[in-house]
Symmetry: C2
């Protein structure tokens, strides 16, 4: 049978892994297409906005990883119970994106990264830790949502670029990640997925 979804990304975790986590969580059948970075110059111009990941479904192609994650979250029933709950989830997702952008945009500059490790990471993590504490080990609305799955799926790449385990001193954030990684479908995926550094 032809898979329902086609996810195209690089052969790394990066911005693709949170989407793979969501697809696996919901047992959605998908083709996991992975390009090597060295082949990117030949492939870039064929992408709608010169970027990956893309998601193909019913013959249509979508871009933008967070938008795709939100769509998948709806398919696997990991959204909020009402509009305000979805706002809480979207808000923490965009905050994770801000933190990641701060790390990614500075990771090649060791002086800048020292500052990011000393200031930005604790600034964000202290606040996210309080949120996780107030939500009983979740990132929003007091239960498992796509914010938790997204964060757990994004963490390896963020940590690799940060050069530290950003949640090491934050037990409630560690609980968020542990909860996701012990979900059987996710646990199996992590044990069997292609091994990559990033």
């Amino acid at each position: 049978m032809v898979p329902q979804y086609k996810l195209t990304y690089f052969n790394l975790k990066g911005l693709g892994e949170p989407l793979r986590f969501l697809l696996k969580y919901g047992n959605l059948d998908f083709e996991d297409i992975r390009y090597e970075l060295k082949d990117w110059p030949q492939i870039k111009d064929k992408q709608p906005f010169g970027q990956l990941p893309t998601l193909e479904h019913n013959g249509k192609v979508a871009v933008q990883s967070i938008a795709i994650a939100r769509y998948l979250a709806k398919q696997v029933k990991l959204t909020g119970a009402n509009d305000w709950e979805d706002l809480e989830i979207d808000s923490v997702i965009d905050t994770i994106t801000d933190l990641r952008a701060k790390i990614i945009s500075n990771h090649e500059n060791e002086e800048a990264m020292k500052q990011v490790r000393k200031e930005s990471i604790p600034f964000y993590l202290n606040r996210l830790e309080t949120i996780a504490k107030n939500n009983k080990g979740h990132l929003a609305v007091g239960k498992l949502t796509w914010a938790d799955v997204y964060f757990a799926g994004a963490l390896d790449f963020i940590n690799a670029r940060a050069g530290v385990n950003i949640i090491e001193k934050y037990p409630n954030l560690q609980k968020v990640v542990d909860t996701v990684l012990t979900i059987p479908q996710i646990k199996k995926w992590v044990a069997t997925r292609p091994k990559t550094d990033l």
Copy 2:
């Protein structure tokens, strides 16, 4: 009567104006709180993530401008008809955000901005123009959605930072903006809102 919503931002258009457009579009009663930039150092630490805008509703406060915009879009019925349509809308919103980030992060460096004007802006705008053409003068799903209202509300600030009118050569994108700016509630708001440079 106490307004239902409280929007807190700076006394400028920036990331706040698309939210004001959405509130005005839906005739939602809101308090439009505007801080002067010079007062920001005293206010910053009181914000949940040291950032504005925030939206207050029913005694709860939300952060992150795009997340807030999506929430308001649901209240004023400017979303898609199904999950895939919402993905199309979210995707174009995130693309506008990418373009804006590229402009904002370089606007203080004239050499970098020359490159942004020569490469990034045409790259994004050509693709967005094709989308607007294929969607009959809208940014997604062939009808008015919050993507159109967001873009029209964000444009003045983007243009001010870009130093050019980025849609000048793109008739279908101009049509998107014209359609929004002729909606009576929006037209009235633009005519009567506080005058600001950014």
